[in-house]
């Protein structure tokens, strides 16, 4: 078995900014990311969707680089850029020919130091975000299913349960003052990590980080948010109308074990056994054998995240699109049989072994990709960032696989028995308004 030996150098600047460098000179390109330890989970109450709207504002101008300058400078250096908002982090990243490294750092430092935006920018991006919500959710078959449907059913704490993309009323209510306050609270260097990957020299990269980020004043650490959930004691269910699509759909979410615990390692193997592609038990039984469903997918923190990129409560989700001639109850009964079998009989070593091989293989692919071919090493950057911000240990990328490879079949069965219970799950049904046959 190939032992991972990804170079990872890290330091913390006096203002609290974490810096991580992972050089690899195979191609003359560099990927740079800045991750802030703030996601949509803990955006302010009455401001649903704000963390994401704020992410858009970060492209609207900073002290020395006005609106469009960020985008123009990166594109005209031969690079691409974007940002994204997750449960617990928000990222900004660029892939560029490596001769543009310092320029990228200058831009990221400039917007970490001071955001410079006005009401016109806010109005503009509010409109853009509304069209984003329409194109991805409101005007799309199965839009937001189940990532926006499950949280309000599964959770009791507003932070975990609210509409992460944002109610339009809340988006409309957001003010420039909110923007600057959010920036001040969450965008201090001590709440962030800077990552440089690819064709970069470690010493040079560290020096450039100090030069451009070192003088950004440190701010107070944000007070820790309460994202705890009261224990779940009964199955929770909800129904959401499907306005466009023709097939009924159902999603089931089980509260998942806490990160970096032995139960979590076992749950990841359980997840592969159930949801690992066409060989996974759910797809094999429901789609290939019983042919009740036309598609199933699933995973821990599915579908807008993965096993590694959250830092609080999450679900192991199964998503089922089933044939209209089967009722939701029939579909769930067939699904429950798979779940009950797993709890009763567990998994043999013969089934677990290939699951580990596949898990390892998926992990390698994750390191390199994650964003098509346009952002080389996006996946490695994402892991390094999460391990830095959540665990202060970026080098976990080299060792995190080991405990998964040591999971026993007994541990898989035992975690199945513990988490795959009726009282630990939430179910949402998407009920089509239209009939299947046109």
């Amino acid at each position: 078995m190939t032992r991972l030996n990804i170079p990872v150098e890290s330091q913390v600047l006096p203002n609290g900014l974490r810096v991580v460098v992972s050089p690899d000179h195979a191609a003359p390109v560099a990927t740079v990311g800045v991750y802030y330890n703030i996601g949509f989970r803990i955006e302010p109450r009455g401001r649903s969707g704000f963390a994401h709207l704020f992410e858009h504002m970060m492209f609207q101008g900073s002290a020395n680089a006005g609106k469009m300058v960020h985008i123009k400078l990166i594109n005209s250096s031969g690079g691409v850029l974007n940002g994204s908002t997750h449960y617990d982090v928000t990222n900004y990243y660029e892939s560029v020919p490596s001769n543009a490294l310092e320029r990228v750092l200058w831009l990221e430092a400039d917007r970490m130091r001071a955001l410079k935006v006005d009401d016109e920018n806010l109005r503009n991006q509010r409109d853009v975000v509304k069209e984003e919500v329409r194109v991805n959710v409101l005007n799309q078959p199965y839009g937001g299913f189940p990532w926006l449907d499950l949280p309000p059913i599964a959770y009791r704490n507003w932070s975990n349960a609210h509409n992460f993309y944002g109610d339009f009323d809340d988006l409309d209510a957001a003010t420039l003052e909110d923007v600057q306050k959010f920036f001040k609270t969450y965008y201090a260097p001590s709440n962030a990590v800077l990552l440089m990957l690819g064709d970069v020299d470690t010493d040079e990269a560290m020096q450039l980080a100090e030069r451009h980020f070192g003088s950004i004043p440190s701010g107070p650490a944000p007070s820790p948010a309460n994202i705890d959930e009261p224990p779940q004691i009964e199955e929770r269910r909800g129904v959401v109308e499907e306005k466009f699509g023709t097939l009924p759909a159902v999603a089931v979410g089980y509260q998942a074990p806490q990160r970096l615990t032995p139960e979590w390692h076992a749950a990841a193997m359980l997840d592969q056994a159930l949801h690992g592609g066409r060989a996974g038990r759910v797809y094999r039984r429901l789609v290939l054998e019983q042919q009740i469903a036309v598609d199933t997918e699933g995973g821990i923190h599915y579908p807008v995240g993965d096993l590694f990129d959250y830092n609080g409560p999450t679900l192991m989700v199964t998503r089922i699109m089933h044939k209209p001639e089967y009722s939701v109850d029939q579909t769930l009964a067939a699904y429950d049989q798979i779940i009950d079998e797993m709890k009763e009989k567990g998994i043999t070593a013969e089934e677990l072994e290939p699951i580990k091989v596949k898990f390892r293989s998926n992990y390698f692919s994750m390191l390199e990709g994650g964003h098509g071919a346009s952002i080389p090493r996006y996946g490695l950057m994402h892991l390094l960032a999460c391990f830095s911000l959540f665990d202060s240990e970026p080098s976990l990328v080299n060792t995190i696989l080991d405990p998964f490879m040591d999971v026993s079949s007994e541990a898989v069965q035992s975690v199945a028995q513990k988490i795959l219970t009726r009282q630990n799950r939430s179910i949402v049904v998407r009920q089509p308004v239209k009939k299947g046959a046109a």
Binding site: T2, P28, M68, S76, V128, K130, E131, S361
Partner: protein, 458 residues
């Protein structure tokens, strides 16, 4: 470790670019086996895996006269059984090798794509070879896949972006195979296993195939492995797809697809254009990049960053094997359909009438060449670039010379391409949305032909 104190305060000057570092071309091996199978291999040691694609130069266009989508269905069912393995074995074997595999077909090619751990490369190649040579097309798997396809087609007909592409391609290419992107339910139901087997027999031939692999291997050793697995494949080639005449596009035309209840309108505007082999291809690519092909492009700045009409405006030059097309599009709120079309056309006409400035030209050339380098930095990206160059039989040094050829393009090249291919007077316009919300706006650009989501004229 702790860093030393920072050296300086706020820096207000944008740092200059360092000297460009050269692209290092990884070692490649090429060979054509005696049975006609073409092979391209490249080393890339970024992760202990390899990725590959086995292409056949025939896709849905090759059999469009029989039924649209037949090549795609053939590829789908080819994965579900061979003379040696049943469907479940195939899936479990893949998992055992840590591999992923997908099959499918577009207009011009059918493909088996795969990736896996290098330790299991021989097993994976053996399975790929079986799927390419010994697929058994089990009747029950075929029935299951067809039902899944039909349910998928029904959902497509509720998806604005699909409906827009479907109508747009029909407008540009009419009854040519490129004019149909998906079968109807009835056409899918009329597929039979024999048609799939026929397609497979006729087109899954080594003389019609290209195997591209990139990964953590030594090319010469991998070549030997491949020859062992694929060398015994009986030779054979295939006829190219027919290329029937195209409809004449004499004037601007507006199509409206009525999707009741839409809270947004999906707009697509464009013309037929050219293939990658056309001498104007790079000129068009550069013109597109300035117009709407990059974040920092005119269309994105205008209708997103200035006006806030849309989240996702984009334009693209799309090459198919026999023809190509150019399109610009955006999903916009219902009340700005006419305003958006006005801006789309304004920016197209501006490209035609006025030469781009030096700075904008420099920026766009740097963008294209930089993004090209980014695309070579991963196994997937490298495989994709090589596959395109080889499938389209582009010149041997196409990739190596790409950047210098882009750097030579001028403002006149861009304007010439815009004048030829951003043909606003004959543009085809498709709008998908709720008729009551958008028809009067659409009508400002021509008398709309209105269709329902099933494709019927209403």
């Amino acid at each position: 470790m702790m860093a030393s104190a920072p050296r300086s305060e706020t820096q207000s000057v944008i740092p200059a670019l360092a000297p460009t570092r050269p692209v290092i071309w990884p070692p490649r091996a090429r060979k054509t086996l005696s049975n006609g199978l073409e092979i391209v291999l490249v080393e890339s040691h970024t992760i202990p895996k390899f990725t590959g694609e086995l292409f056949f130069r025939s896709g849905n266009a090759a059999v469009a006269a029989k039924a649209p989508g037949l090549a795609d269905m053939t590829a789908t069912v080819a994965r579900t059984g061979t003379q040696r393995r049943a469907s479940r074995e195939i899936e479990e074997d893949l998992r055992r090798m840590g591999a992923d595999l997908a099959t499918g077909a577009g207009a011009d090619t059918s493909v088996i794509s795969f990736e896996g751990l290098v330790d299991h490369s021989n097993d994976l190649l053996t399975l790929v070879s079986e799927l390419a040579r010994e697929a058994s097309f089990p009747a029950d798997e075929f029935e299951r896949e067809r039902r899944q396809l039909v349910e998928g087609l029904r959902i497509e007909r509720t998806t604005p972006s699909f409906l827009a592409s479907e109508r747009f391609r029909r407008a540009l290419f009419g009854s040519h195979p490129y004019g149909t992107i998906s079968p109807t339910e009835e056409q899918a139901m009329s597929y039979c296993v024999e048609d799939l087997k026929d397609f497979y027999q006729q087109y899954y031939r080594p003389g019609n195939a290209l195997l591209v692999m990139v990964g953590d291997f030594a090319p010469q050793a991998m070549l030997t492995q491949i020859e062992k697995v694929f060398g015994s494949w009986a030779s054979g080639s295939a006829e190219p797809a027919p290329d029937p005449p195209l409809p004449e596009l004499a004037s601007r035309k507006v199509f409206l697809v009525h999707l009741p209840g839409s809270v947004q309108a999906q707009i697509v505007v464009g013309n037929r254009a050219i293939t990658r082999k056309h001498p104007d291809w790079l000129r068009l690519t550069l013109a597109n990049s300035i117009y709407g092909g990059a974040f920092n492009s005119r269309l994105v700045m205008n209708i997103r960053e200035q006006k806030g009409y849309t989240y996702s405006p984009r334009s693209g030059a799309h090459p198919l094997r026999q023809h190509g097309y150019f399109s610009a599009g955006a999903a916009v709120r219902n009340d700005v359909v006419a305003a958006t079309l006005t801006e789309i056309f304004y920016e197209l006409d501006r490209m035609r009438s006025t030469p781009v400035g030096e700075e904008e030209l420099d920026d766009a050339r740097a963008y294209l060449t930089g993004v090209f380098s980014l695309g070579l930095a991963t196994q997937d990206g490298l495989a994709g670039q090589l596959a395109t160059a080889t499938l389209e039989k582009l010149p041997e040094d196409y990739l190596e010379t790409y950047r210098e050829r882009v750097m030579k393009l001028t403002a006149a090249d861009v304007q010439e391409a815009a004048q030829k291919y951003f043909d606003t007077a004959r543009a085809q316009i498709v709008i998908v949305g709720d008729r009551a919300q958008i028809e009067s706006q659409a009508a400002l650009f021509g008398v709309p032909e209105v269709y329902d989501a099933q494709g019927n004229r209403i």
